[in-house]
């Protein structure tokens, strides 16, 4: 059976949802250490704060301060259970919807408050339904 290399194949890998839309990166992998049993791969964490924690707590703190100054909502962290992983290849496909992930909160905010106000901007949904 193919063994998954967690640090090389999963950590930092691009995540795509069930519709193959990009939904962030695997910023952290959580392991559950159990007595007398092999450690279980419990979940993937996606979201800026999870990555910032990896770099250092100071970066997480700096991110919070900058968001407060810019009045940008806190970037959430999404915990995706590992049993939702459907495929591990060049990307990691997970059985979730990108729009429902906390980690996409900042991106949603940017899309609604900034990108959509740019003249000529059209969203993916507009393209799908053919809004001019």
């Amino acid at each position: 059976m193919h063994a998954v290399r967690l640090a090389y194949e999963v950590l930092d890998a691009q995540l795509i949802d069930e519709r193959e839309d990009k939904c962030g990166r695997a910023d952290e992998v959580l392991l559950e250490v159990r007595d007398g049993e092999p450690p279980r791969v419990a979940a993937i964490l996606a979201g800026g704060p999870a990555r910032a924690e990896r770099v250092g707590r100071w970066l997480a703190w700096l991110g919070r301060v900058l968001r407060k100054i810019g009045r940008v909502p806190d970037g959430g962290v999404s915990r995706i259970p590992f049993d939702k992983v459907q495929m591990i290849a060049e990307v990691v496909q997970v059985e979730v919807k990108a729009d429902e992930l906390e980690a996409m909160r900042t991106e949603r905010w940017l899309r609604e408050k900034v990108i959509c106000r740019i003249p000529g901007a059209e969203t993916k949904q507009d393209k799908k339904v053919g809004v001019p």
Binding site: A7, V29, L31, V33, E37, P38, P39, D83
Partner: protein, 141 residues
């Protein structure tokens, strides 16, 4: 049964010592395999790779780079240990410790390497026999 959660990035790069307190290397990679049971399937960690290059194995994940590292490693005396999950004590994640001595790991790996070489030699011998048989077949006709 108690269970604690650990971050992968907290483990990779940690120095691993054996039961005698001697440094073995740093955790470079964790291998996980699918475990099937009644409640569903889980990925569980089966093996830890511990080596002296630290994160270099992760960085050099591509096949070409891995082979290159293996060659360079042979020149500079780099050694990597494949540690089964039950030989790694993670009760203190900041100080992962082996439950065996370093020599035992080396012996196991030497034994596995010998077995792999024997299997490779046997496969090569069978392949050559098959090739000879195939070459002789048209001559008979």
């Amino acid at each position: 049964m108690s269970a604690t959660e650990l971050r992968l990035s907290d483990l990779t790069g940690r120095v691993v010592r054996d039961v005698d307190g001697r440094k073995v290397g740093r955790i470079e990679e964790l291998f996980a395999e699918l475990e099937q049971h009644e409640d569903g399937n889980d990925y569980v960690v089966t093996e830890f790779h511990v080596g002296s290059f630290g994160a270099l194995e992760t960085v050099g994940g591509g096949e070409l780079l891995r082979h290159l590292l293996a060659r360079v490693g042979r020149l500079v005396g780099y050694k990597t240990y494949r540690v089964p999950w039950d030989a790694m004590d993670l009760s203190d994640p900041k100080r992962p410790t082996l439950t065996v001595r370093r020599e035992e790991l080396e012996e196991d790996q030497d034994r596995e390497r010998e077995q792999a070489e024997q299997a490779r030699a046997e496969a090569k011998r069978q392949h050559e026999q098959q090739k000879q048989a195939n070459d002789q077949e048209p001559q008979r006709r």
